[in-house]
């Protein structure tokens, strides 16, 4: 069970790395999903159709897994719509101000040895860990 858990994690991580490498090889771009998704609205970075196409691929992968494999996707243990909306808003504004999320800064940025991405990654990891600590252990909202 443990071996399966870790082998899936490593295989999944390598597949994420494969996707990031393919996007650089074929299209010359860094795989930052918050930037790709935000470009659907702004259209500032490049043509919207490419971003839409990428997100459709992501959706199709999700939908196929959801249909074929029970438990491949899950909802957040947090079910309060107000908190979900607040979290979504923070993620949306935060990734635009900070120009990236887990994929852009955390995976691609670190792989390019970008100091900017290293600072961003340390900051959002620390902030996420602190948020979980506060909500779970201090305020005991008790989702886990």
């Amino acid at each position: 069970m443990y071996i399966l858990q870790y082998s899936n994690a490593i295989l999944g991580g390598a597949t994420i790395g494969l996707a990031a490498s393919l996007l650089l090889l074929l299209n010359g771009r860094v795989l930052g999903i918050s930037g790709i998704a935000a470009n659907i609205i702004s259209g500032q970075s490049y043509s919207r159709k490419y971003s839409i196409s990428f997100v459709c691929g992501l959706f199709l992968a999700g939908w196929t897994a959801f249909t074929l494999i029970p438990g491949a996707l899950a909802d957040s243990p947090v079910t309060d719509l107000k908190i979900l909306a607040l979290a979504g808003l923070l993620v949306g504004v935060g990734t635009r101000l900070g120009n990236g999320c887990t994929s852009g800064h955390g995976v691609c940025g670190l792989s390019r040895f970008s100091k900017r991405s290293l600072f961003a990654t340390i900051t959002f990891m620390a902030s996420a860990i602190a948020t979980v600590y506060l909500t779970q252990h201090i305020w005991e909202l008790g989702q886990l």
């Binding site: 790395g17 490498s21 992968a61 897994a65 979504g88 808003l89």
Partner: protein, 134 residues
């Protein structure tokens, strides 16, 4: 051809996120809960993703240009400023509150549950608001 490549890479990225367990917010929160019942599995995802990408990037950047474009479009920004750190801090708060970051939630929203749709709508509203501020 370019449209198809984005679509195909989107599928590969989605498969990676699902395989790795990133589409399970409870697991993500368990990884972030280092002061509680810590689940270290996702550190292996990060490690494998960064290792693969580092090697891939080194090999690919020896080329003079990508396959479907005339040049590479790598980020040129170098400044570490308040905007970067404040943004990263806000992103971390949202991620830690519910366990979803942008890639996994855009994959998980295919289940069309109210919660994932609410998060995605709010996230796009956030993109829009931040775009106005710029």
């Amino acid at each position: 051809m370019k449209i198809l490549s984005y679509f195909f890479i989107g599928i590969v990225f989605g498969v990676g996120l699902i395989l790795s367990g990133m589409t399970l917010p409870l697991k993500v929160l368990g990884f972030l809960d280092i002061f509680g019942n810590w689940d270290p599995t996702l550190a292996f995802v990060m490690g494998a993703a960064v290792t693969t990408t580092t090697i891939g990037y080194q090999l690919i950047l020896r080329r003079s240009s990508p396959v479907l474009e005339n040049s590479f479009f790598l980020p040129t920004e170098r400044v570490i400023d308040t905007k970067l750190l404040l943004g990263a801090c806000m992103f971390g708060m949202g991620w830690g509150l519910v366990g979803f970051c942008p890639g996994p939630v855009l994959t998980a929203v295919s289940s069309l549950t109210t919660g994932t749709i609410a998060f995605v709508c709010a996230m796009f509203a956030g993109f829009w608001v931040a775009g106005l501020a710029k």
